[in-house]
Structures are given as C-alpha cells and as structure tokens.
Symmetry: C2
Amino acid sequence: MNIQSFTSKLLESAVDEFAKLPGIGRKTALRLVLHLLNQDKEDVNHFGETIIKLRNEIKHCKSCNTISDTDICNICSNQSRDHSLICVVENARDVMSIENTHQFNGIYHVLGGIISPMDGIGPNDLKIDSLQKKIENGEAKELILALSTTMEGDTTNFYIYKKFKQHDIKITTLARGVAIGDELEYADEITLGRSIVNRTLFESSI
Amino acid sequence: MNIQSFTSKLLESAVDEFAKLPGIGRKTALRLVLHLLNQDKEDVNHFGETIIKLRNEIKHCKSCNTISDTDICNICSNQSRDHSLICVVENARDVMSIENTHQFNGIYHVLGGIISPMDGIGPNDLKIDSLQKKIENGEAKELILALSTTMEGDTTNFYIYKKFKQHDIKITTLARGVAIGDELEYADEITLGRSIVNRTLFESSI
C-alpha cells in the first residue's frame, strides 16, 4: 500500500517521524500511529514526554562513558565493585549484556565505537584518553578487552594492547570457543580450531 | 538477550514505552531508543512533540468520522466530490487505501469497526446513526459497502443492507473476483467460482 493519501497532516507528520526509525517502514509507521490514536491521551502524552526527557536528560558517565542518569553511573559509583578490573567495550548495550551475565564485578570503559577506517572512525574518535588516565593513575590492574570478534574489533584490541602494553597492567581478552549449546558440526573452523589449541582442564569446566 | 540490567532509569522507561507498541519487542525497543540517543536533540524533541500533538489535536470528521485535522475533513468539504455517493468503510486506513486508487470521487462513511460478537462489538458501537441521518436527508443516492470479505464484514454488510433497503437508495458492494496479477491456480475456489458467476463483458475489462 502506497500511503500518500492522508486525510490529516498531523497523521502524516507522525508517520514521517516513525518511518525515520531504523527498520520501520511507512506501513509499520502508519500501524503504530493508528495504534497510538486508540490509546488514552494520558498514555500517549507520557510516551512523547518520555522520549523528550530521555534525549534531554540522559548523560554519559564521566568515568566510564556509559549511558547514565547521573554524572557517575551506578556501576562506577558502587564501591563494592572491583575498580582495578576494567572491561573495555564498544557501547552501552555491551555493558548491559555483560551485566546480565552476573559474572563480572569490575567496572567498564565504553569506547563509544571501534576503529573502522571504512566508516572513517580512527582511534581519536574513541574514548581512549580517559582510559589512559585511569591506567596512568595506577587504578587499573587488569584490562579485559571485550570487543566484537570482527576485523574492526581485532584492530581496536591490537591498538589498545600496543598503547598500554608497556604499563604495569595485565591485558586479557574474552575466551573464544564453541558457544554453549552449539553442536560441533555447526561451529566454524577457526573457532573450533582455536578452542582445541586453548583447551581448558575438564575440572575447571564443571 | 534479556535486557534487565539498565544503567539508566530514563533509558529503561523509554524502552518500556516503545515495547508497548504492537509488534515491538524489548530488543527492538532498545535498538530504537539507542538510535534516538544518537540523533540531534532537536530532532528527538520534534519526534516527541509530534506524538503528543497528534494525540491531542487530531479530530474525527463530524460528517464521515475519518481522521482529520479539522471538524469537517478535506474530502467531505470538497464540493467537487459527489456527495450522493457514500462509500462505507471500517476505518480511516481503508479511506486512505481507496483514495490511493484515484478511482473514487464520492465521499466516505467510517463505521469505526465492524460487527463482531466475539469482540463484543455490536451495531450500537458503530457510527450507523450518522449514516442513517445522511440517508434520511435524501443526500445519498448510492451506498457502496466496502468492508472486509470476512464473516464480520459480511455480517455488517447484511445489517446495513437490511436497515436501509426500504429507503430509496442503491446499495452496492465491491466487486469480488480474481485479483489482477494473480495466477488462476492460486485463487481460492470461492473467489474463482464467484468470478465465473459474475463474469463481465470482455469489452468492459479493457
């Protein structure tokens, strides 16, 4: 359906706005807007206000750069967490993913991207200076590189490794291997190969 | 990914709001919200304001009940359209679909639903009174029933037909038949059967 024949400009503007969102076409946008028209005024006002408030009031933690409501996020300000263990991630979503595992009690450092010459993103576009300060302060004992296992992720890992290897700090990376629940025949050769080379003691896996 | 570990309440509220929309899960909601965080403040404010404005300012045409910015929609107020020809549809989206065909120059009447006992929707929940007034005024010469070809649509068609058949008005319905571009072998039997019974002169199809 080509939806050009709007009987209302208000409707058309709202559809235009929703259609700007990633993965939302004009048909879906129209469906969402008509849904909103059927909701209580109060609820729709709250929806609109939440969006405005989000964009205007949200902050980036001054310490780790993740999305936060306060100047220092609730992870960095939590004194029961191990501030000597810094997990370097690409974005705020990765922080949430790792937090969901409940396996990590250190703090994070959000780079805000990864080195990608194709997209014109170099080391200077990332939050590496503030990471350097933390390391020079001697706060950090271990840096866990938790970036994507893509070429860009590997490049960034290598850049950070080279930059900080002369410091008195342990630099680790996430374990690579066969995902839990995966059948071997579907694992790719590189992952499978590396998981043989880096095999672990059976006792430590149970 | 289970996204419970938000580092920000603002972010969480925004994800909650987006996840209330039909067909949007929490993962998609998070993706949309993170997208908005990367947009200009001005654009995001405009998005939120458009939603609020939409819900608070939009009207239903007092004549045909479609979505409109004004008391009388631009179709009903257009004097070059044939006001004696009324196309009865379920909702405002159907008005847009028919307008897009550029084949109809009459006016519309939006019922706001169809009779559906399963959903507790009876004739009194639909805008039939205002249709009756138009018919009793003698304005209308032909009523085109353009409802879905479902049981509910057929029930509503029949209800309207019974209610208005004693009036001096022609009651028609959309032609049923094989869709243009469809291969015969994929047409269902009922549609195909009816399209043989209601065959049209070849001259009128070219």
